[in-house]
Amino acid sequence: MTSSAIVLVVAVFLASSVEMVEALTIVVAAGVSRGWRSTFQGVAAALAVLGVLVAALGPAIVHWVPIDSLRVVVGAILLVFGLQWLRKAVLRATGYKDKHDEDAIFAEHVAEMQAKAPAASGRDSVGFAVAFKGVFLEGLEVVIIVLTLGTTDHNLGLAALAAGAAALIVGAIGVVVAKQLAGVPENAMKMGVGLMLVSFGTFWSGEGLGVHWPGKDLAIPVLVGVYAAVAFIVVRAVGAQRARQLHGPDQPPGVSHAQVV
């Protein structure tokens, strides 16, 4: 397996896991408050639509779009998307943005759905719709990551497998831990995905624009390392500044690992 394939699998797996955790919060909330049958039907319908999107769009993109154009467009999308994830993760790690609190989101969803009238009989349309929307919208980001990384690296099957494995593992963990999703180190995972997406974005858009990277595919893990070092320094510097703002100049600089997670 090449270095780009390894980074691809890790990036898709982590991105899918993060999105799956967010979808799972909505699904469990729908199941608990509206019943499981309609919720599972909503999940199955959303997964089927997402699967059709990957199966239909993936081969079409590979077949019809010239490789250099594909690399520039895909690289640009990954670059923007990865920078957005990285920025958000840094701001959350340094306290400038609230962490994604799955417990609070869960309670909010449950209260909202319990306030709606229960279904008279048969399928509960609220449970179905909420589960479908949650899985489809969170899954759409995964589909874009799978399609962009998979088609550009000519490894669509591998990318889809990594996403599927993440869905299965997070789903299985979700069954066990149910309402304890707040324990998932989501921000650290988001930081990791951001680093990999930005690295792929830099590499592929550069290749598409005529840049010859030294070491070819090996440049990807090097870029991951460089960006990780920069992200670490930025988190330390901005975190120290935040601590001084909150507690005055006597506060020791830097942020702990726990803050990043």
Binding site: R87, S205, G206, G210, H212
Partner: protein
Amino acid sequence: MPKSSEPGTRPLSARLLVAFGRFWWDFLVGDTPELFVAMLVILGITVLLAKAVSTTAAWATMPVLVVAALVASVLRGRRTG
């Protein structure tokens, strides 16, 4: 009588097109337009360097520009969240 431009009276194809455009706008621009602009600038400078100077200059400069974009956006994010 509702106006023809109201969402409920638009044909399905127009609503799908609007939803599609809105999805990509939120996805790529959203609340961080500076990152979208930075991406365009990075790609523009990279293609100029690759064609007019050398590929070495292009690959050496590109990650520096990406880092600059990230740092600038994080600094902006300290104020806006």
